[in-house]
Symmetry: C2
Subunit: 218 residues, 2 copies
DNA sequence: CGGCCGCGTTGATCTGCCTCAAAGCGGTGC
DNA sequence: GCACCGCTTTGAGGCAGATCAACGCGGCCG
């Protein structure tokens, strides 16, 4: 969010941030239906966002880590549309929305960044819809792993070796699959030499093959 | 978009709109990858937006009608992420983005409306992810029909009797199903007395049953 | 220590939706 | 009129992924 801001603007943004909150693994950052007052920037850790059907089924709609901003879906209705849950011990800082809107009016680059975040969320959701609507299970899982890989890399971590923060069931929910299917696919990718899995730690051996599986033509 | 604006602000918004463009059925409003310069407000007709996988598979991500604003997914990357195609003869007016950002800074209610549009798009995409990831075919189709019903009603049309603008294949692509499945489900809903279908004209007879099918608890 | 519990793996079977195929139907142009 | 074409419907059979079930493993607590 602060990218490209003048020092003075940065100071104003800083001043807006009053609170930094800690959550333990499993704790709820906000619930669906709660009044929306602020966005949350993740400073440490990671969390998932889920939407719930009336009958209790849940769909994980996002997996968020350091630097991500969550809660954007609450702006329109002034209520959170989904529920955010920490996947590990996590720290976020709240960005009060009315103050942010105000600042965005005063600071064009901030306004621009805000719009970028909103728009990128839409783009991300649309790729997810492509996955869920048109891809087969193995393509989805390969895409998921590559997506994680990319995001870890952008944050300066290894792009080929990381620890999953989600259970098989959560991965399944995110990808529209059952946990058994996820587990089987991990095993298959492992046997085929594409990856190494041991519980939640994953090594990607053959990015090219994964990309091909995921439907990337590169 | 203009909701809640002062007369003077309205005039400024009006002044921004230079062009109104017409498209015939099947024509492309914009393509994925094209530079993003403007949003488009639909004044007449309807269109679909689709994302394409590298291998040519396509997923319809949205179905848009009068009053909807499309193109929001291009803001973040400055390129359109999806392709928009007219489903019938359609008129849109372009809202140049740089001008709109500028105006949004000057006119708080406009800024707010813009954010609402962006955020609602995210919310819509998330419900779609819930559908695609967790619902069965009949639930998806019931949800689709109810969604249309609601939107027609909000625009002053009948909520129980309307004409589909999409082919079975397009509905299928939107819902992550094959056209045959869509056709079969229409027939089944018809036989069960929930709806009447004749080609593309649909009457909804039993909204309550559809809602139950769709997983609404109401 | 032993028992429990959450999570993961793997096998066997089932089924909802896809695939393949054929035919109907309405509109359009010749 | 007829032929063609895009769209839709319907049937038969197959398969990817779900479901059901059993077991393994590590961590935690009494």
């Amino acid at each position: 969010m602060p990218v490209g801001l003048e020092p003075e603007a940065l100071a104003q943004l800083d001043a807006m941030i009053t609170s930094q909150t800690r959550f333990k693994k499993g704790e709820i950052l906000y619930r669906a239906g709660e009044p929306f007052t602020a966005l949350y920037a993740i400073r440490l850790g990671s969390c998932k966002t889920t939407v719930l059907a009336e009958d209790g089924r849940e769909q994980i709609t996002g997996y968020h880590m350091l630097g991500d901003i969550i809660g954007l879906d609450g702006i329109g209705t002034e209520r959170h549309a989904c529920e955010a849950i920490a996947l590990e011990d996590t720290q976020v800082c709240a960005l009060p929305w009315d103050r942010l809107e105000e600042l965005a009016r005063a600071i064009p680059p901030l306004q621009h960044n805000l719009h970028r975040f909103l728009s990128r969320d839409i783009g991300r959701d649309q790729s997810m819809m492509l996955m869920l609507g048109s891809m087969r299970a193995e393509e989805r899982l390969a895409g998921f792993l590559l997506n994680l890989s990319e995001r870890y890399q952008r944050r300066g971590y290894s792009s080929t070796e990381f620890v999953l923060r989600m259970t098989r069931e959560e991965i399944g929910s995110y990808l529209g699959l059952k946990l058994e299917t996820v587990s089987r696919l991990f095993s298959r990718f492992h046997d085929e030499g594409l990856i190494q899995v041991q519980g939640r730690s994953v090594k990607l051996f053959d990015l090219t093959a994964l990309r091909q599986l995921a439907g990337y033509r590169c």
